[in-house]
């Protein structure tokens, strides 16, 4: 899921202080599971914002809406808060990931959208309230060759062919000393799982970063899918 954190309160205050009517827009998907985009956490942030505004002698009128998935325009439009064409709001404070914020920005046309969250990574929960990155969206997954572990996201040097040589003598990462070198973990999985012993020449091939999620528009056009997959 997409993991995000709330922007620092002072930054949020500076972003909204010049507006009078602000629509606060939550998202019930990833960021709610991540404890930052759901109604309860938004209310808590708004309370803190209102206190901060009051200290500066300012008031902002907040309205609240949410979508089950903010990243889908149809679901955002279903909420009805942005489709009447009127400028009921001066700004939208978005408690979704950056994808959701951009969808809102597209749907809301001329109303400025302010991101309340910093989108951090695609990750997984390790424990209650703890998330860790697991994927960088490289576009060519090869975790079947690395013990089911993504080295591009979990190794600071993205070392794809074994440890970098800078790890500590007890096998910990020199950048994150509290973490085991990811290649130590891969080695233990490799030695215990026969399914991993596959042809790994791909690891020495240079990666095609042109299909990764960074550096310009990356589009998957599957619009003709149903032409070849009729439901019979």
């Amino acid at each position: 899921m997409i993991v995000a954190t709330v922007k620092p309160l002072t930054e949020l205050l500076n972003l909204i202080i010049s507006f009078k009517k602000v629509l606060v827009f939550g998202c019930d998907s990833c960021v709610t599971i991540g404890r930052v985009g759901g109604e309860a956490s938004i209310r808590a942030t708004l309370t803190a914002l209102e206190l901060g505004l009051a200290q500066q002698g300012k008031t902002v009128s907040f309205s609240f809406a949410k979508s089950i998935r903010q990243c889908e325009p149809e679901l955002v439009e279903l909420t009805g808060v942005l489709t009447d064409g009127s400028r009921r709001y001066d700004a939208i404070l978005c408690f979704g990931c950056s994808v959701g914020a951009q969808t809102l920005s597209h749907t809301a046309h001329n109303i400025p959208v302010i991101p309340a969250l910093n989108t951090r990574f695609m990750g997984a929960p390790l424990a209650t309230g703890v998330w860790e990155n697991r994927c960088i969206g490289c576009g060519d997954c090869f975790i079947h060759l690395t013990g089911g572990i993504c080295v591009l996201s979990r190794c600071p040097r993205s070392s794809q062919n074994g440890s970098c040589g800078y790890e500590t003598t007890d096998g910990h990462c020199d950048i994150n000393p509290e973490e085991q070198c990811i290649w130590t973990l891969i080695r233990s999985r490799y030695n215990s799982k026969s399914t991993l012993k596959t042809d790994s020449r791909k690891l020495t091939e240079t990666r095609d970063w042109s299909i990764s999620s960074s550096g310009g528009v990356t589009k998957i056009d599957d619009s003709n899918y149903h032409e070849g997959h009729s439901e019979e």
Binding site: P156, R157, Q160, N161, G165, D174, Y190, K197, T204, T206
Partner: protein, 223 residues
Amino acid sequence: MLKQSGMMLTELPSEPDIDNLIRGRIDHSREIVVVPDNIGAAPSLDALIRAQNWVSPDQRVCIILNTRDRNRIALASRYLSAAHMGIHSIILDTGIHTRQGPLPDARPVYDVDPIQAARFLNQFRLKSESNNQTDPSIGVRIAIQQIDNFELERMGRICRSGPNFLVLKSNLDDLLLSEWIKHCECVDGFTDIDLFLEIPHGSWDNRRDIEIPQNVCGLSVRY
């Protein structure tokens, strides 16, 4: 680094007096001088310029190139420049991470890892038809932690990527290291690769009891 009222001002560190420091330490009886590359992830003179400045005509030069600061285009450009300058060899390494240097907010490149870089430069050398005796040999710095199937499989990959030599950083003691080398000798192509053992500066004489194949010698490198 200076941070002022939310605006990040980056103050480049002044060039350390590393050139004079290293120039003073170059032992002219050594056959090869290894020229480091952006030590400590700090901006510095290019390794090629340092190579030109430091080394006397009777010494061969090996430069280190890190994959932290260079994508494939930059690596190939350095390779061409090194070939043009008559540099003897290149060690490919990941380098100290940017977070450990004076510009921790800089984004590291890591387009390729050193083994992929070796493979890429080999292919580049073949494509550019510049394969002649003056071309630099290509080495990769790797770490060895254990003797197991995983390491042997990895060594097979490394050999197939075509480096001319390896610089080994090993946590193994001398006996295990000898055993590792024996194991690796059954890996296709391994015996064609020269091995250099990365050891603490000045400690090679204490390690003469290691059973050393002909193609292994000590390399004192400080990264």
